[in-house]
């Protein structure tokens, strides 16, 4: 009979640490994918993932089993990513005047003919990455969860531990920050 997450968790809490490896193997790709949304360098991603699992092990006793383990783990992951963003704010001062050639070309194409600039281009992905890196930690988290991952305000509130009202306020501010960043691109490039 196949064992459930609850069985593995119960075994770990009884002292069978080796059973924790089963949980790690099962959810490691998901945690890595989430961490890669917020960190670019491999060593930073690995640090985040490691931190998530160490916290998960230490806090496993507080998991009450009312929701799936995956939800509990994803909350922990998102909060660890947010902590990472807050502690790495020094990287935010990038200038849009230093856009790469493909990024410049993509923007030129967009200005000349918006529909001709493909969303699947690497340059577009680099540009959004640059733009997200400029945002404050809370704004980046909200834009990622709300706009890119298409989650609801309620889901974001559960993941982050913020109230629904706070999520709405932060989403409003985050969109304003995005527009400011985009205006900066336009100004640096065309004025």
């Amino acid at each position: 009979m196949e064992q459930t997450d609850a069985d593995h968790i119960a075994a770990v809490l009884k002292g069978d640490t080796a059973r924790f490896e089963v949980l790690i193997q099962k959810y490691l790709p998901r945690v890595f994918a989430t961490a890669r949304r917020y960190a670019r360098r491999d060593d930073e991603v690995e640090d985040i993932v490691q931190e998530v699992w160490l916290k998960a092990f230490q806090k496993l006793g507080s998991f009450r089993g009312e929701a799936p383990f995956e939800h509990w783990l994803m909350r922990l992951t998102v909060r660890t990513c947010y902590d990472f963003l807050r502690s790495h704010r020094r990287n935010r001062e990038t200038t849009f005047s230093q856009l790469t050639e493909p990024e410049n070309d993509w923007l030129d194409r967009f200005v000349a003919q918006p529909e001709a600039a493909s969303e699947n281009a690497d340059a577009a992905r680099q540009l959004i990455e640059r733009l997200l890196a400029e945002l404050s930690p809370a704004a980046r988290l909200v834009i990622t969860l709300l706009e890119i991952e298409d989650r609801s305000v309620k889901e974001i509130a559960e993941l982050t531990g913020w109230s629904v009202t706070l999520v709405k306020v932060r989403a409003f501010r985050a969109r304003a920050e995005m527009r400011k960043g985009l205006a900066k691109i336009a100004k640096d490039k065309y004025l």
Partner: protein, 100 residues
């Protein structure tokens, strides 16, 4: 430049490329090894340890104050604690009256 359209395009670009979920080789082994090395944090044990550490200075202060109150010379001019308290409390009012 149409910034609303640019924002829509860039968000669509981010949506179109979900992040890679590749896991480095034997990463789970690394975490298990770390768990074995790192002692488990027990909040109550930490609290108990802190209390034990604080108990020695507390006892020392208690003994010092006890000794001081026992051996201090009884040359105080005050009549009672309540009188001292009242004097201290009304000192500002008394001085205020004198200044006028």
């Amino acid at each position: 430049m149409n910034l609303v359209e640019l924002e829509r395009k860039l968000i669509a670009a981010a949506r179109a490329t979900p992040p890679n979920d590749r896991v480095p080789y034997a990463f789970e082994k690394r975490i298990i090894a770390l768990l074995a090395v790192r002692p488990e944090l027990d909040g109550w044990a930490q609290w108990g340890k802190a209390l034990w550490r604080a108990s020695a200075p507390c006892v020392a202060i208690m003994l010092l104050l006890g000794a001081w109150s026992y051996f201090a010379p009884a040359g105080s001019t005050s009549t009672s604690l309540s009188q001292d308290f009242e004097n201290t409390l009304l000192a500002a009012v008394d001085q205020n009256g004198e200044s006028w």
